[in-house]
Amino acid sequence: MGIQGLSKVIGDYAPSAVKENEIKNFFGRKVAIDASMCIYQFLIAVRQEGNMLTNADGETTSHLMGIFYRTLRMIDHGIKPVYVFDGKPPDMKSGELSKRAGRREEAQKALEKAEEAGEAENVEKFSKRLVKVTKEHNEECKQLLGLMGIPFVEAPCEAEAQCASLVKGGHVYATGTEDMDALTFGSTVLLRHLTFSEARKMPIKEFSLEKVLAGLELSYEEFIDLCILLGCDYCDSIRGIGPKRAVDLIKQHRSIEAVLKNIDTKKYTIPEDWPFEQARELFKQPDVLKDSEVELKWTEPKEEELIKFMVEEKGFNEDRIRNGCKKLQKARHGSTQGRLDSFFKVTSTTSTKRKSTEGTKGGATKKKAKGGFKRGR
């Protein structure tokens, strides 16, 4: 789920932290991608007539289709992806996970009901809610990536945290995910909509942590506290405190401890045993592989093995896989265009914005805040 309403908060308080860009402008960048999140997306989105794609034996292939083509799309645009897989969830996430399990059960019941009543639309809706990324899905994706010569990292714990650490360590330029908590984990740059299909023509949204902090006038520590108040995956938030009040409180008191001392506990019930300190620690010092333990290598695709896996086992069209292989090989050979902004650094930003146009700007930010991608419902 990430952080509740964070993208709206950023849109309202720090609109300049979000830039929309075409995918082709990210050439030459290395990007860490939250694999579990995008496999989940593929299982939901890559469908035909409401059903997941399968091979002749009835095994799901939506995720492989997604990984294969969306990776090719990035490679085509000169982006070098690294996939990061989730490890075991942190203990603190168990609350959130059991909530998710509860929602699945509800969806399961609703699905049965809808099936009985023969409501095709609802059947599709609820079956999407039941989608779960299994271990097999993950293993197959890893196998596919290995054959394609794309590196992947197995995070000891949360994938977003590992992505953030890769960004901080300078291994990659940005984290590609829809989960906003990559920012809370300290990714300096977050890219949304990176793995969406070409056909949707969605521009890529680039969030800059530095500009988010500047816009909110918060330090990184204060920003973590704000995210906990907004609602994260690791502990409850205080009932009755919405995004607006959370920002105001943190700006005024600068930490959750100080907020707790100053708010009316009769009006707002603070959850019993509220482990916000552990949650904060989890964001600051997540369980990740150290920089030195990570090695990223993009290698030659193994064409024949890829054909064996994708065509013979999974029933994909041979020509298409061979074509994809050609693209992978082409991207590996020849030189890559350098980026000017890796030679010269930004020294200042000028804006020609005039007062009279403030009104229209506000309208634009409102629009940006909507349309967040929800996960795990």
């Binding site: 300049s16 075409e22 082709k24 402008n25 050439f27 290395k30 070098k80 990223l296 290598k297 993009w298 590996r332 030189s335 890559t336 265009q337 350098g338 980026r339 000017l340 902004d341 890796s342 030679f343 010269f344 650094k345 930004v346 020294t347 200042s348 930003t349 000028t350 804006s351 020609t352 914005k353 005039r354 009279s356 146009t357 700007k361």
Partner: protein, 261 residues
């Protein structure tokens, strides 16, 4: 209040032609010393840096520093309405969100004025370090344009190899390969046709011809072009704009992939 008049209006027309294909929009920074513009193309591969000194204009008036956000395609469309002999005056108020261009025929019989909306642009200014380049090549601008155009028939990128004997431009592609070599010839009578090389150290770099062809749109501005290069840093292509300034293009080189990445 900002006002600048250029008697030789055609120079401004040429400047616009030189940048409008690379940049959609840009911020013109105006201060008492003159007008300048710095912007990267949308893919952040190249950068345009343009300077027009106040001395080149008559009169030039800038009461307050201002940044004008301008859609260059629209500006170029309007400048096409000016004749080559016309003088061009640029005016902008301190408040207001428009800019006005006035075109005057030499004998003053015909005066046309066009008003254009300004834009809201946020631009990042890049700090460009002062660099001593290992090779500085001066050659006729038309010759450079010809080389870029010819080699784009062969491939997508050109490798420029500069040694003390001369400079070699090479490209290769599906149909084959091509090389063009220019030797130093500083002794010719006509200064504009000279090829001169100042070299500290030999260098070899590869660049995308697509961008070089965009830069060559500045050819009408100046008889000579200067290429400054060092290994593994961006190339600088400079055209003088008469006595009043210059347009410089920076282009990031193509980088051979290291084996492990």
């Amino acid at each position: 209040m900002f006002e600048a008049r250029l008697a030789q209006g055609t120079l401004l027309k040429k400047v616009l032609e030189a940048i409008k294909d690379l940049l959609n929009e840009a911020t013109w920074d105006c201060n008492e010393n003159g007008m300048s513009l710095q912007a990267m193309d949308s893919s952040h591969v190249s950068l345009v840096s343009l300077t027009l000194n106040a001395e080149g204009f008559e009169p030039y008036r800038c009461d307050r520093n201002c940044s004008l956000g301008i859609n260059l395609a629209s500006m170029s469309k309007i400048f096409k309405c000016a004749s080559n002999e016309d003088s061009i005056t640029i005016k902008a108020g301190d408040e207001g969100d428009t800019i006005t261009y006035v075109f005057e025929s030499p004998n003053g019989d015909k005066v046309s004025d066009y008003e254009m909306k300004l834009m809201d642009i946020e631009t990042d200014h890049l700090g460009i370090p002062d660099t001593t380049y290992s090779c500085v090549v001066k050659l006729p601008a038309a010759e450079f344009q010809r080389i870029c155009r010819d080699l784009s028939q062969i491939g997508e990128s050109v490798t420029i190899c500069c040694t003390k004997d001369g400079v070699r431009f090479s490209a290769s592609g599906d149909l084959g390969s091509g090389n063009i070599k220019l030797a130093q010839n500083a002794n010719v009578d006509k200064e504009d046709e000279a090829v001169t090389i100042e070299m500290q150290e030999a260098c070899t770099l590869t660049f995308a011809l697509r961008y070089l062809n965009f830069f060559c749109k500045a050819t009408p501005l100046s008889p000579q072009v200067t290429l400054s290069m060092s290994n593994e840093v961006p190339l600088v292509v400079e055209y003088k704009i008469g006595e009043m300034g210059h347009v410089r293009y920076y282009l990031a080189p193509k980088i051979e992939d290291e084996a492990d990445s």
